[in-house]
């Protein structure tokens, strides 16, 4: 493919009759009985950032997949630059100047960045020629849009933020005029996200059109010019961003009034439930990521660990949950020191009364091929209530799963359904229900609202507060500073494997926390 951006820059001139880069009219798409898109109309102006918001299952991804040629619409029309088109596949979409950056990157990990960029777009059989041409082109794109990357670095060695830039570069290299970004910040740290927005602003300044799919209203407010709200397969409204507010958008998305702030009373902490002493933890490749941490969590309080992703929080959480053997140190749950022997530490901690909602629920918290009821007992499979002997009491497990489905409003209400067939938000609820619905002393929660939509965030936050008020000790790790600030009673800031500050949530301001997160040290206040 030779469609580099030189010639595609001329494309807008040809369709001067329309200032719309993309227009969709009356799009319908059903999957069996599910009407995923109902009569969708959408107008995206050229040279703008257009946000599309909606909860999981609202039909955003389906709509974009139709635009990108993954699916064919059952009915409806697509116009690109004012011309009616029928998009047959993603190559065709690219030819029309539509590029997509997926939530999960489609990169070959052990290729270099340069090789990934030209992959599938090599313009001659001899790779050297394509590579040297691409190298020049990449340099030009990098200069134009401050998309700096090292073309010779292997993809697996660069950060997630860099990998995302490679995806954007891939699309631009193929001459994309319209970029669709699907939940681009879900995997990014706050600073990486800020950097991405600066890139998007540059792209807009250069006349590119950007469609941003997200459920983070903050991002919508920060970067978009217009925003379209989808709910249950329908396009509810398109608004100018400057004339709307997060509250209005949330209400449109969920269909009812949503409380974006957490309402909680004062904490009444009592005795210590979780105690961590001098904990040292290595990561998979043997680097020490947790450097002698001390912390304790009392019954009836929420302790939040703030910090930029990658400062050892994940390793700390995994060690406390028994999934990662610490190098040294002690973990005590309700006064009992937990042994680190063997590779079933997580089971021992559960028996000691610790429940764990993992950071990556999709990968760790669920077996997506299992039926829902099977995931509802995962981690607790040896409990007597699922059979006292070696046999599994399937009837009891299913009955309990059904009861949780009712109480936590998990949909569809079918414990026999394969878990992969539940939507993302409902999968999260399966994990939360399993971990919270039991007699526990300590709950540890990693990134409680990662990948969760607004209605579910409110639900999860309320659940966590309710657990606290019921006298549980809760340790919360999140890279979302807002979330830590609104939920936690005490905030610990983690930097480079150490807890460098402790702040009472009441007197925590964003600036100070930000400084701590950047590693500006101050002695930890004694407890």
């Amino acid at each position: 493919m030779n469609a580099s951006s030189q010639n595609s820059n001329q494309r807008p001139a040809r369709a001067a009759d329309s200032d719309l880069a993309i227009e969709l009219r009356g799009i319908n798409k059903s999957f069996g009985p599910v009407h995923a898109n109902k009569d969708i109309d959408l107008k995206v102006k050229r040279g703008t950032v257009h946000g599309i918001v909606g909860e999981n299952g609202a039909g955003k991804s389906t709509l974009m997949s139709i635009l990108y040629g993954f699916y064919t619409a059952d009915s409806g029309e697509i116009f690109v630059n004012g011309e009616k088109v029928t998009i047959t596949d993603s190559r065709h979409a690219l030819g029309l100047g539509i590029g997509m950056v997926h939530q999960h990157f489609m990169l070959v990990e052990n290729f270099t960045i340069l090789e990934n960029v030209i992959l599938g777009a090599e313009d001659s059989a001899l790779l050297n020629r394509s590579l040297s041409h691409a190298r020049g082109e990449l340099q030009r794109l990098a200069d134009d849009y401050s998309l700096t990357v090292d073309p010779d670095a292997l993809v697996k060695d660069v950060s997630v933020g860099q990998q995302q830039r490679v995806e954007i570069l891939k699309a631009l290299y193929r001459g994309a005029e319209v970029l669709v970004l699907d939940e681009p910040t879900g995997v990014l740290t706050p600073s990486e996200a800020d950097h991405l927005f600066r890139i998007l602003e540059q792209l807009r300044a250069q006349g590119k059109t950007i469609i941003l799919i997200t459920h983070k209203l903050r991002e919508i407010m920060a970067i978009t010019d217009e925003v379209s709200v989808m709910r249950r397969g329908e396009m509810v409204k398109t608004l100018e961003t400057k004339n709307t507010s997060p509250d209005e958008l949330a209400e449109l998305m969920v269909g009812r009034h949503v409380l974006l702030r957490v309402d909680k009373g004062k904490a009444n902490p009592t005795s210590t439930r979780l105690e961590v002493r001098n904990l040292v933890v290595k990561d998979d490749i043997g680097v020490i990521r947790v450097k002698g941490i001390n912390l304790n969590v009392r019954a009836g309080e929420i302790v939040g660990i703030a910090g930029v992703a990658g400062n050892g929080q994940s390793e700390l959480l995994e060690a406390i949950a028994g999934m990662r053997k610490p190098v040294s140190g002690d973990i005590m749950v309700s006064g009992n020191t937990v042994s680190f022997h063997g590779d079933d530490g997580a089971a021992r901690l559960r028996r000691a009364g610790l429940a764990h909602v993992p950071e990556d629920r999709h990968r760790l918290g669920l077996v997506t091929n299992f039926e829902e009821w099977e995931n509802s007992i995962l981690g607790y499979q040896d409990d007597d209530r699922y059979g006292s002997g070696p046999m599994l009491d399937i009837a009891a497990a299913r009955a309990e799963a059904m009861e949780r489905i009712e109480r936590f409003d998990i949909r569809p209400k079918n414990p026999r359904l394969r878990t992969a067939n539940f939507s993302g938000g409902n999968q999260q609820k399966i994990v939360l229900a399993r971990e919270m619905d039991r007699d526990l002393d300590v709950l540890i929660v990693g990134q409680p609202t990662r990948g969760v939509d607004i209605g579910a965030i409110e639900f999860i936050h309320n659940q966590i507060i309710a657990m606290r008020d019921a006298g549980k000790a809760i340790l919360l790790v999140s890279v979302e500073l807002d979330e830590i600030r609104s939920l936690a009673d005490r905030i610990l800031v983690m930097f480079d494997g150490e807890l460098i500050a402790e702040v009472d949530a009441a007197d925590a301001d964003e600036r100070t926390l930000g400084l701590y997160m950047a590693g500006v040290k101050e002695p930890v206040t004694a407890q």
């Binding site: 999934m323 007992i377 499979q381 938000g425 209605g455 309320n462």
Partner: protein
């Protein structure tokens, strides 16, 4: 890239394997035609030989019994995410159970059956547990180690048979079990089976099928085993010890493989000879995959392969120009099309029976979560 399309269960479970087998026979028929024989008659002889009369059935079931054991061994390990290629070697080493049978051949056959079954299971389990331990504790890949253990088993058994346990005066075979303690043939109770070798071990195979079903889907151990097989990270999160699951699963897998010794060595040959397993361990891989690692599928696939073995022998006998090598070619074609190329008809079937599902599951546009806050 297009949307994922799924097929109805009956298509993947029944129609697809049936089409694969048919295709294998069509190509096998072409091979037969190429050497100047009538392919239709060849197929008729093969099918009649396997399923057309009592004695044929007897042989078919005898072979199928071996394949049930080896197929289950592969299938069970597969559920835990382990590819046990060492079934052949495990079954071979388990052949040493013949020594227990020989030691007890002055007692009743029931004693011989129970004791040799236990011994065969323990020997097979032992031989499988070593690679399992290496995988679990040292990270040596089980595919590699089990293949190596097949070679080691070969060398070890050659040595045992030539130097240690061979019958005085004979080369590379043991004594024969005394007539009074031999396992009863089914033909003693059901004359229908004629002079076929199908014996009481067939009942052991039925128990093995039920055992694996219950173990995998109805026990806590099975739950942990499947969790590990599906998602090792989730297993660690769930506090499931990968080390113990890998070792125990492989031991049970090896024990199932070992039961081949009861059917083949103790039951039929009544002594141990060199390479007595005769490739049943490798056929077990095809049986497990064709049977989709489910006991019912394993049973059906084992009967199919048993039929191929028996019908093939009959074919070589009836049509001398069809050499036994050609029979191996036909068997190989079935393995090729049902195992390695089992998905060959999928695109075609998807076009006919496919149901479209979204890539990202969007089962229901999510209804509002008004009731959510009140839960708990």
């Amino acid at each position: 890239m297009s949307a994922a399309r799924t097929l109805p269960n009956w298509v993947t479970v029944f129609l697809m394997p049936a089409l694969n087998v048919t295709l294998a026979f069509v190509i096998g028929g072409l091979v037969v035609a190429a050497i100047g024989e009538n392919p239709l008659r060849a197929i008729q002889v093969l099918v009649y030989g396997a399923f057309g009369y009592g004695e044929g059935w007897g042989y078919t079931l005898h072979f199928a019994t071996n394949f049930v054991f080896t197929g289950l061994a592969v299938a069970l390990a597969y559920h835990a995410g382990l590819f046990n290629i060492g079934v052949e070697g495990q079954a071979y080493v388990a052949g040493l159970a013949i020594m227990v049978a020989l030691a007890l051949d002055n007692t009743h056959w029931v004693v011989v059956l129970v004791a040799s079954t236990a011994a065969a299971a323990v020997l097979g389990a032992f031989w499988a547990a070593i690679p399992a331990y290496l995988q679990a504790k040292r990270g040596s890949h089980i595919v590699i180690t089990t293949i190596m253990f097949n070679f080691i088993a070969n060398a070890l058994m050659s040595y045992m048979l030539s130097q240690v346990i061979s019958r005085p005066g004979a080369n590379a075979e043991t004594e024969t079990i005394a007539a009074g303690a031999r396992l009863p043939l089914l033909s003693q109770y059901l004359p229908f089976f004629g002079h076929s070798p199908v014996n009481i071990a067939v009942i052991l195979a039925i128990f093995a099928l039920i055992f694996v079903y219950v173990l995998v889907w109805h026990t806590k151990f099975g739950f942990k085993l499947r969790t590990l097989g599906q998602n090792p990270a989730a297993a660690r999160y769930a506090g499931i010890s990968a080390v113990s699951i890998i070792i125990i699963t492989m031991a049970i897998s090896g024990a199932l493989a070992g039961l081949v010794a009861v059917n083949e060595a103790v039951g039929v040959q009544k002594r141990l000879v060199v390479a007595y397993v005769g490739g049943a361990g490798f056929v077990g891989i095809a049986v497990a995959f064709m049977g989709r690692a489910h006991p019912i599928g394993v049973l059906l696939a084992a009967i199919l392969f048993g039929g191929l073995y028996q019908g093939g022998q009959e074919l070589a006998f009836e049509m001398p120009s069809v050499s036994s090598d050609l029979i191996v070619v036909i068997q190989a074609l079935v393995i090729l099309f049902t195992g390695a190329m089992s998905e060959i008809f999928r695109p075609f079937l998807v076009r006919i029976f496919g149901r479209q599902e979204p890539d990202e599951p969007e089962p229901e546009p999510e209804p509002d979560t008004t009731g959510a806050g009140s839960a708990l």
